[in-house]
């Protein structure tokens, strides 16, 4: 595992050089700030730009602070996912395509270290975005409306991060197995398309990774836990571990696909 440190360093230099370490967290932060603000100023915005007839009174329902954080989450579920897929779906496959891989594969490397280093850096970058972003959202929501209890908020973040771990594992594993373009398409299918399909048909099947987000939000809202949550978390962690293993195999098997330039 000594090569793990070397690979980690290589990946780390790479994400700093191509600014991923900077812009990905910034994008998440941006939505952490903007969602509470939008909710807060929505009445004003409607009044100023909504072209409503003179004297219209919009009854604004009492806003539940958990609702505002949930709005941030729904931005993350869409834009955050796009950003992440775009940033990491080429992480292994691109090295095979542009010839970097030939420099790496020429040595007797440990594919476990190689894969895990990529995965680790991906996780760090993602968490540096999601965690501060959510915290900012919590803080701003507290300032503008009221605070969500911090314990509930932390349990929410904890559960939610399991979902992001799963997402990242899927993306990196797909990148290990397929070409960049295909990996990107498949990643989008997994993180954006499947949730949409499941939201139509998945009501009768309470335990799968795609449920994690709604469980996390439900926990923040009501503070209740049910057995389903724990089983879902366990299941997701197990699937992620399996995917990690599959990814390492994939990285190894596909060495022959590396383009020699």
């Amino acid at each position: 595992m000594r090569s793990y440190g070397t690979f980690l360093w290589k990946e780390w230099t790479e994400v700093t050089r191509n600014f991923k370490l900077l812009w990905i967290p910034l994008v998440f932060l941006l939505f952490g700030f903007s969602e509470p603000l939008t909710s807060y100023y929505l009445p004003d915005i409607l009044e100023k730009f909504g072209n409503l007839p003179e004297g219209t009174v919009i009854p604004i329902p009492h806003i539940d602070p958990a609702e505002v954080i949930a709005a941030t989450v729904s931005q993350y579920e869409f834009i955050g996912m796009i950003v992440l897929v775009a940033a990491f779906s080429g992480t292994i496959s691109k090295e095979r395509q542009n010839g970097t891989a030939t420099l790496i594969y020429a040595r007797p490397i440990s594919f476990t270290s190689y894969y895990l280093a990529k995965w680790t850096v991906g996780v760090i970058v993602t968490f540096l975005g999601v965690v501060p972003g959510l915290f900012i959202s919590w803080w701003y929501t507290g300032m503008l409306f009221e605070y969500v209890e911090i314990e509930k908020f932390f349990s929410f973040v904890g559960i939610y991060l399991v979902w992001w771990l799963f997402v990242l594992t899927v993306i990196v594993t797909l990148s290990a197995w397929f070409r960049s373009a295909l990996a990107t398409v498949l990643s989008f299918a997994v993180v954006i398309l499947i949730p949409i399909i499941l939201s139509f048909v998945g009501n009768y099947w309470p335990m799968h990774p795609w449920k994690l987000t709604s469980y996390a939000i439900a926990w923040m809202r009501d503070g209740v836990d049910s057995n389903d949550i724990w089983i879902t978390i366990g299941l997701t962690v197990m699937i992620s571990l399996f995917l990690l293993w599959l990814g390492i195999i994939g990285a190894k098997v596909n060495t022959k696909k590396a383009k020699i330039s």
Binding site: L22, L26, L30, V83, K94, N98, Y140, L144
Partner: protein
């Protein structure tokens, strides 16, 4: 423009700062990079004039990795 003082700049400032950093970083990177997908000048305009999405687009699809 009479509503301008009513805007709580302190609250909105972080948003503007982040956008500004994104734009500046994207432009710096653009000036250093060899080639982009599509003409460079187009990216200059996209980064500057499209809020938030411009720089994100540049970083995701605009950069051509060597």
């Amino acid at each position: 423009m009479e509503t301008l003082p009513a805007i709580p700049w302190m609250i909105i400032a972080p948003l503007l700062i982040i956008q500004f950093i994104l734009v500046v970083v994207a432009l710096i990177d653009l000036s250093k990079i060899d080639r982009t997908n599509g003409p460079k000048l187009l990216w200059v305009f996209l980064i500057i004039f499209i809020n938030i999405i411009g720089p994100i687009l540049y970083f995701t699809v605009g950069r051509k990795q060597a």
